[in-house]
């Protein structure tokens, strides 16, 4: 793994993977949205409103995966001090905040017709809102220091502390009474969702996760270039 901490080697691979990942992501979005919006049945209870689920659920999964990525990258920055790990955590934060916002907004739009309310303070919704604020807090914190390494370390600690929230989000629907329904796909006894509805859901999940990969590589390239530029400016100023 430490081989890929070398930026030159990492970006050689990442730049080769990027176009493939981008094409796969676009294809999965096209197929997933086609099945989700046109070629899948309406639900027996929710009717056509079920289609919001195909956008909402994978966004929430991606938001959690993104946070896990950010926390792991933060931990490896604290342990091994690889610059690329810090940049990866910084790259993941706004992407994860975006996914979280999508899942909060679409969930609210689904909740109004189905539950009868836009928002409730139950354990699932509240913990996801906290996830959103953790992302925003991380972004603010890492940029609040003149020395990027200090900012990165402070942010990594925040990301690790906030990681406690990830299992709370996942299991909130099992541990407490919530208005939000429990898991339908990632559960012990297999999915409780019809196969023709699981297909668009999984296509959309693939689309979101590959999009996450594409945006991570693009953001990492930008952040790394910014870091190089900073070093050059500092070197020029001290000469």
């Amino acid at each position: 793994m430490h081989r890929f901490a070398n930026p030159t080697r990492f970006f050689r691979i990442a730049n080769a993977v990027l176009p493939v990942l981008a094409v796969v992501s676009a294809g999965l979005f096209a197929a997933g949205l086609y099945y989700a919006l046109f070629d899948s049945p309406a639900d027996y209870q929710q009717g056509e409103t079920v289609r919001i689920m195909y956008v909402h659920v994978p966004a929430a999964w991606a938001a959690l995966a993104c946070y896990a990525t950010m926390a792991l990258a933060g931990a490896s920055f604290l342990i091994w001090k690889h610059v690329l790990a810090d940049l990866a955590a910084r790259a993941a934060a706004p992407i994860g905040a975006g996914f979280t916002l999508i899942s909060l907004a679409t969930g609210s739009l689904w909740g109004q017709p189905m539950w009868g309310t836009w928002w409730v303070w139950d354990a699932r919704l509240t913990s996801v809102l906290i996830l959103f604020f953790l992302y925003l807090g991380y972004i603010a914190l890492v940029n609040a220091f003149d020395d990027p390494d200090r900012g990165g370390r402070a942010g990594a600690v925040l990301a690790l502390v906030g990681a406690v929230n990830v299992p709370i989000i996942k299991f909130s629907v099992d541990w407490w009474n919530t208005l939000h329904q429990p898991a339908s796909v990632l559960r012990m006894d297999g999915p409780s969702i019809a196969p023709e509805m699981l297909l668009p859901l999984l296509l959309m999940a693939g689309a979101y996760f590959t999009l996450f990969g594409v945006m991570m590589i693009l953001r990492l390239r930008g952040l790394y270039a910014g870091r190089r530029l900073r070093q050059m400016r500092l070197a020029a100023a001290s000469r």
């Binding site: 049945p41 309406a42 639900d43 027996y44 209870q45 929710q46 079920v50 689920m53 931990a75 604290l78 342990i79 091994w80 017709p113 189905m114 539950w115 009868g116 309310t117 409730v120 303070w121 139950d122 354990a123 690790l160 502390v161 990681a163 406690v164 709370i168 099992d174 541990w175 407490w176 009474n177 919530t178 208005l179 329904q181 429990p182 898991a183 339908s184 559960r187 012990m188 006894d189 409780s192 969702i193 019809a194 023709e196 509805m197």
Partner: protein
């Protein structure tokens, strides 16, 4: 122990500590974290009639009565062990029906729950209407039950309180 291993130990130890702390806090505040109480919970302990609380459970089949006032409705909420009568005046969500999980907010006065808000609770089962109709026709599944045996069990747990 190298400095790197020290840092790993510090992070792992810190996370374990935080996890335990979060677990203790959430257990201690369980009454505030749960979104609603079940009728059994409310039977077990007396509730201040002025306190706004939420009660959740399934709408008992055959218990829904309309009137006498406009948009007034009475129904029983059950968690399998005990039932509670809910009175509500207002517009019900689309998903409201007998056998459906609901969460009502209001006050418990004289053993009747005076609700000022009724929310429908959706379960984790997703299927096309034709499949649902076919299952019902074959008698595998009645209204208010889940066709997935375990989904029903978790549904009952939820409405049965967070014990």
């Amino acid at each position: 122990m190298t400095r790197k291993n020290q840092r790993i130990a510090l992070i792992v130890g810190g996370l374990a500590f935080l996890g335990i702390a979060a677990g203790l806090v959430l257990t201690a505040f369980e009454d505030s974290v749960v979104f609603f109480f079940s009728p059994t919970d409310l039977r077990a302990e007396p509730v201040d009639p002025e306190r706004r609380i939420r009660v959740g459970g399934l709408v008992e089949s055959g218990s829904v009565e309309r009137g006498p006032a406009d948009a007034e409705i009475r129904f029983n909420v059950t968690d399998g062990n005990s039932t509670l009568t809910v009175r509500y005046v207002g517009i019900l969500p689309d998903l409201f029906r007998e056998g459906q999980g609901i969460v009502a907010q209001g006050r418990l006065q004289n053993a009747v729950f005076q609700a000022d808000e009724v929310l429908a609770k959706h379960d984790e089962t997703y299927m096309p209407k034709e499949v649902a109709d076919a299952l019902k026709k074959q008698g595998h599944w009645k209204d208010g039950e889940s066709p997935y045996p375990d989904a029903q069990e978790t549904g009952a747990q939820q409405t049965g309180g967070g014990s």
